[in-house]
Symmetry: C2
Subunit: 245 residues, 2 copies
């Protein structure tokens, strides 16, 4: 492991807010933040998602990986309508990988990452955290504009302008609050290998957009398809409970 | 009034999201948006504020000024703690105007405008609105970093990067979604005169941070002090019901 100087720095990494959905990406991000020595305040959202089972998964992951706190905030995005993840639109199934990569999918939730990051910023301010970790990924989710690095960088600047600490830091030529997106350029297989190496128990994580009542994955939505292919490509055993499987 | 060409443009102004707190600033902003010909989708937040009476005020204002819709979103910011507006910290009373202008007050809600604008952005996307109106003001609330024009401009850029429509517009050198802050450089007296001229019924609005059970204003918090002084300076009769008044 690291030498004592590095360990001291690690212990002093301070507080971070980690956006934790309960999926395998954000579980891996939490493991990365812990590995870097952060005291992790995890934040999940109950936003009226069909796949609410992910909140149970998030709680397990937060506990297993030693988070300092797990805040679940209620936010009823169903008031807007407009997404298959919250409204009464069917979740697409059995799409090809090429179709998954094309355009903005109906499972897109309007402004979701913008909203989640903004609320994370509020929590970061109150907890004195200097970093927000988010598991966005521009490889598999190229259809979501709010998963791209340009968006993340612009958000960081805006968030710093929203607070006194941030304004003072910008004046001194740095960011008072940083946004870390450690998965942004990784493939699903690379994420799985990274998480496995850091002790993530993927059996605790949940990715399916349209799970059964007991949380079993449908195996056919875009999220299941990407996850399933990722485990195969990573040569890591897939612990997911699939419906009828 | 305007000529027919302007009227045609007005009728085609399209949809706007208006952040409506129920205070006199946002009521005036709604009147401005209506005057400019927008179909107004008003958005209020039930965020655990002590002065929840403002939501009743917002509903009255939205109806009176002919809003197309009034969405109230629940969002429990009390989970964070840290503000006198949501937590169990006393609301300061009887402060001088100078003291009100100094530093970040305890009534500051962490990242509030960032969060509210982000959610407004989600609603704008679903309703096809090209503009978000917000009643921020950099004169009376100079202690709030998220009321300044630099923040609003940076948010607009970030919000455009979060959506496909916005990214395409930025590529063409313009903003797909604009943020309008028509009060940003006005004094409270100027806002009151503007609203009065546009038919706002200020008796319907609510500003007090610490109201009585029937919604009567305390007359002594920072918000009451600024409002009271504004009516006097504007030479407009103050219709506010003050406690014991």
């Amino acid at each position: 492991m690291a030498n004592s100087r590095l360990q001291t720095e690690d212990a002093e990494a301070g507080a971070a807010v980690v956006l934790l959905s309960g999926g395998l990406d954000s579980a891996t991000v939490l493991a990365v933040a812990k590995e870097q020595g952060f005291r992790c305040h995890c934040l999940s959202f109950d936003y009226g998602q069909r796949h609410r089972f992910e909140l149970t998964a998030a709680a397990k992951v937060a506990e297993h990986l030693g988070a300092a706190e797990h805040v679940v905030m209620s936010l009823d995005l169903r008031a807007f309508g407009g997404s298959a993840l919250t409204a009464d639109i069917a979740v697409p199934k059995d799409r090809t990988e090429r179709a998954i990569g094309e355009g903005i999918p109906v499972t897109y939730v309007p402004a979701r990452n913008l909203i989640f990051l903004s609320i994370a910023m509020g929590l970061a301010e109150v907890r004195g955290a200097g970093v927000i970790f988010i598991g966005v990924n521009a490889v598999d989710y190229s259809g979501y504009p709010d998963c791209r690095p340009e968006f993340i960088e612009s958000f960081a600047r805006t968030a710093n302008l929203a607070t006194k600490v941030g304004v003072d830091a910008l004046g001194a030529g740095r960011l008072g609050l940083r946004i870390e997106a450690p998965l942004v350029k990784l493939t699903k297989a690379e994420i799985i290998r990274l998480g496995a190496g850091l002790g993530v128990d993927f059996a605790e994580t949940h990715s399916c957009y349209d799970p059964g009542l007991g949380g079993e994955a449908c195996g056919r939505c875009d999220s299941c398809a990407l996850r399933r292919a990722g485990f195969i490509q990573a040569s890591v055993p897939d612990p997911t409970r699939y419906a009828g499987g």
